[in-house]
């Protein structure tokens, strides 16, 4: 059995699954239940100055559903904790005492002046929390007050606040980043430059879920008016994975420790984040959709996966896929693949044919000798993977490299050497040989 014990910035937890700073970690009651269920750690719901903020007394959440009403995406307008600071501090202290083997991280959000940080950081650290996570990510409500994403969108502010926190703290400092930026690397670099020990990402994405089709107002509303929220859940995972990978592969930030967040629902999602450079992962939406019991599949699935891969510990997996991520310009343009449809598995739905016919390269038959039969026409197939993507049958259509002979589409011999855009004759900016 692989060892799931996780060490993150020197903080040991029995597994790499922490609950992210969010409603599930708002109170000792919830956190006790989470630890009883087996979660490795929690990042406490973000603490702020007293008097506490207030929340709306109406819908805070809404979801993007599949037809079966499975939650694919999730939106919230809840703010940071709305309980008095002392209540939270007392509970954090008690939880850390009761669960010494679990990670307990204090998420904080404070106004942009150093005195406030100098005042609150030691007070919070005194609870015994293992680390701080600086909430520079929440895109709604708090950002209107110059905190959360308003800080995370300006690298200079990130660096400044991180420095203030580091000055006042003796435990590690994690900076939580907002995805509501065009390039995630400068904010990550700013955190590093400010002395952060790690970054965590992503926080939620600005979002409006839909309109109400009866009232033609946005949905949901608070007494007829609504505001954008933060989007999360399975739907944001690809956005998060890209940002994690960008930080992990960029020379300026490659050495930064990463806590991966964004739509992790099952163990495979965790594998994605870890392989793309995250050192541990945080989960919120899946717990809010299914309850804490999902930790069973997360830990069990990851452990089995590591065993199957012959990996003894989580750290063996971290960053494994990072070297495979590059810029488009470095992709081998001499590489040729063609789709192959396994006729034994094909159920003859025709989806591959019609999407290729209507929207791509007319490379899949509809009939062969008058019979309904879907097969790839190599003369037309550009290897785009669209048919693989839409086929409802797992593994029915697969991509296969063509390594020798002639590409039936171009009529050109398959080249054995690699060649990319940087040297391509069609590239006016190509490097001269």
């Amino acid at each position: 059995m692989a060892d799931l014990t996780s060490e993150f910035l020197g903080i040991i937890s029995p597994n790499p699954f922490w609950l992210a700073s969010a409603p599930p970690t708002d109170k000792a009651y919830n956190v006790n239940r989470a630890f009883e269920a087996g979660w490795g750690g929690v990042v406490w719901k973000t603490l702020g100055e007293d008097p506490p903020i207030v929340n709306v007394n109406g819908p805070r959440y809404s979801a993007l559903h599949s037809n079966e009403r499975r939650v694919i995406g999730f939106n919230n307008i809840e703010l940071i904790t709305d309980r008095p600071l002392q209540t939270n501090l007392d509970e954090i202290r008690q939880i850390k005492r009761d669960w010494p083997d679990r990670a307990v991280v204090a998420s904080i959000m404070l106004p942009m002046n150093e005195q406030t940080w100098a005042k609150y950081v030691p007070m919070i650290e005194d609870t015994g929390a293992d680390a701080f996570e600086l909430n520079f990510g929440c895109p709604h409500g708090m950002s209107e007050r110059g905190m959360g994403a308003a800080v995370g969108q300006v690298p200079e502010y990130i660096q400044m606040a991180t420095e203030w926190c580091k000055k006042a703290a003796s435990v590690p400092v994690i900076v939580k980043l907002t995805p509501n930026v065009t390039n995630i690397v400068p904010p990550a670099k700013a955190a590093k430059d400010g002395g952060a020990d790690a970054v965590s990402l992503i926080n939620t994405v600005n979002s409006i879920m839909r309109v109400n089709y009866d009232t033609l107002t946005m949905y949901p509303t608070t007494d007829g008016m609504g505001t954008h929220g933060g989007y999360c859940g399975e739907a944001v995972k690809p956005i998060a994975l890209n940002m994690v990978a960008e930080i992990a592969r960029n020379a300026d930030t490659a050495d930064v420790t990463i806590s991966g967040i964004g739509g992790i629902t099952n163990w495979r999602d965790a594998v994605d984040f870890l392989a793309l450079g995250a050192d541990n992962v945080q989960v919120c939406t899946a717990a809010m959709v299914y309850g804490f019991k999902i930790i069973d599949d997360l830990t069990d699935g990851l452990s089995t996966f590591l065993d199957d891969k012959g990996m003894a510990r989580v750290a063996d997996l971290v960053g494994k896929a990072v070297p495979s991520v590059t810029d488009w310009q470095y992709l081998n343009l001499n590489h040729v693949e063609k789709a192959i449809i396994n006729q034994d598995l094909c159920i003859k739905c025709g989806r591959c044919h019609i999407v290729c016919e209507d929207t791509s390269h007319q490379a899949i038959t509809q009939t062969v000798n008058g019979e309904r039969h879907f097969a790839v026409i190599d003369d037309e197939c550009v290897g785009c993977n669209l048919c693989v993507s839409v086929c409802p049958v797992d593994s029915c259509i697969t991509m296969h490299p063509v390594t020798t002979g002639i590409d039936a589409r171009t009529g050109k011999a398959i080249a054995t050497e690699k060649a990319n855009w940087t040297t391509h004759p069609n590239n006016p900016m190509r490097k001269q040989g």
Partner: protein, 445 residues
């Protein structure tokens, strides 16, 4: 065989029990059930289900519209191809049509619930009488439609839609044909047949003349003189005989006559039913009368069919329905003798098999079944007297071309009365539709 009094009586089960037995065979889907069922549709291209549907309903499109809560649009997609899509959702043997063709069968052996989804989409339209169609500009052409069953109603509706004026002649007091007087009651509850007909007629331009006997009150020649075109959807008026001795004994009944009575009876517990019932035949009607007899409280119901299960006109699903209800199905036996003096007491069969030439022969073994009632359900035939002498027929049914045109000028035909008729509502609807389109084209050229 002694001649004791036949045990035939009403009220074998309480009114409540009978009502429960004749409730909806397949209760309608709730919205959440429908969304889950709809989500299973792969939205196939050139979908096999649509190809398998005799009326060519674009099934993936109507299911996609259910998924997006566009129920009115979904119903329109169904009803524009099949105006009796509501009834077909209830009575179609989907297991041998659309659902058999569903690609989901390949890996899961469980098709999308197309029939139930079709009902989900169409029920609100009939319930609320939502208008989905409007007539084209009137053409001034008049067309006679004979027969108010599925073929005639479908033809009349399509012609009315295209702007023609229709006179619909109906033999019975109520329209609907076998939808109203045939078909098992538990397949079409709550008087759905009439609700559907009301909806069809609401298009306008269809004048209904009831209680008109074709062949007696009106003739083909008269109609050809008076109208621009004629459509015959007259069904099969005569019942096949067993052709054995004593067939006129009391207690030997036509299944379709009893079903017609049963369909019209609001309190079915008042219907007299035999304690031991024997049904001769292997089609849907045989299953319908057997199951309904059982559900009225008959203690023992036997279906006897002269060939095997594969040759039965009733689908596997229907056969299983009968077996589940406690009906016994005997294969490979044909009736030879009815016993009884003043009333039938038993029916005797000879066991059969196929000889080497594939011909059905008896093998010298007999089977005797006691019976208070014997139902004949061995098919119907065209009432030959009702038709013009010069109308071409084949195997006792009217010959038509691909567009349902008969050999007579200005006369089209469809439904069970034509050669290609297959006892299915959905086929009859298609015949009526195809004929209407051909008639319209002819009248405009």
């Amino acid at each position: 065989m002694t001649n004791k009094a036949a045990d035939i009586k009403a009220g074998r089960l309480s009114k409540q029990e009978v009502e429960r037995n004749f409730g909806d065979l397949h209760p309608p889907l709730s919205r959440s059930e429908a969304l889950i069922a709809a989500d299973r549709c792969y939205f196939c291209y050139d979908a096999p289900c649509t190809t398998a549907c005799p009326t060519g309903i674009d099934i993936p499109v109507f299911i996609q519209k259910i998924r997006s809560d566009n129920i009115r649009g979904s119903a329109h997609t169904i009803l524009k191809e099949n105006i009796m899509g509501g009834m077909c959702a209830r009575v179609c043997p989907t297991e041998v049509l659309c659902e058999e063709a569903c690609v989901r069968n390949t890996h899961e052996d469980k098709p999308v619930d197309i029939g139930l989804l079709q009902r989900y989409a169409t029920d609100p339209i009939f319930k609320h009488r939502t208008p989905l169609f409007s007539r084209a500009e009137t053409t001034g052409k008049r067309i006679a439609v004979v027969g108010g069953g599925p073929a005639g109603l479908s033809c009349a509706h399509r012609l009315a839609l295209l702007g023609h004026d229709i006179v619909l002649f109906n033999r019975d007091e109520k329209l609907g044909g076998l939808n109203e007087y045939g078909i098992a009651a538990y397949k079409t509850v709550d008087n759905f047949a009439q609700a559907e007909i009301d909806y069809i007629l609401s298009i306008g331009g269809i004048e209904v003349r009831k209680n008109v006997s074709f062949g007696n009150d009106i003739s083909v020649d008269q109609l050809r003189d008076e109208f621009d075109a004629v459509f015959l959807g007259i069904g099969l008026g005569s019942v096949n005989e067993l052709r054995i001795d004593n067939e006129s004994l009391p207690g030997v009944l036509n299944a379709i006559d009893y079903i017609a009575k049963l369909r019209q009876e609001s309190d079915k517990s008042t219907l007299p039913v035999g304690n031991k019932v024997v049904v001769v035949g292997g089609g849907m009607t045989a299953i319908d009368i057997a199951v309904q007899s059982k559900r009225l409280g008959a203690e023992r119901v036997d279906i006897v069919y002269r060939r095997g299960p594969e040759q039965m006109g009733a689908s596997h699903y229907e056969q299983n329905l009968a077996l589940t209800d406690g009906v016994t199905i005997h294969h490979w036996a044909q009736p030879t003798k009815l016993h009884g003096d003043e009333h039938v007491t038993a029916i005797e069969f000879q066991r059969t098999e196929l000889d080497r030439a594939g011909k059905l022969t008896t093998i010298g073994e007999s089977l005797l079944l006691e019976a208070d009632v014997v139902f004949k359900a061995i098919g119907q035939t065209l009432d030959a007297n009702s038709i013009a002498a010069d109308l071409k027929t084949e195997r006792g049914k009217i010959s038509v071309d691909d567009e349902q045109k008969t050999s007579l000028d200005k006369v089209w035909a469809g439904g069970d009365c034509v050669v290609s008729g297959d006892d299915l509502t959905v086929s009859a609807v298609q015949h009526g539709k195809v004929a209407a389109i051909a008639i319209d084209r002819g009248l405009r050229s």
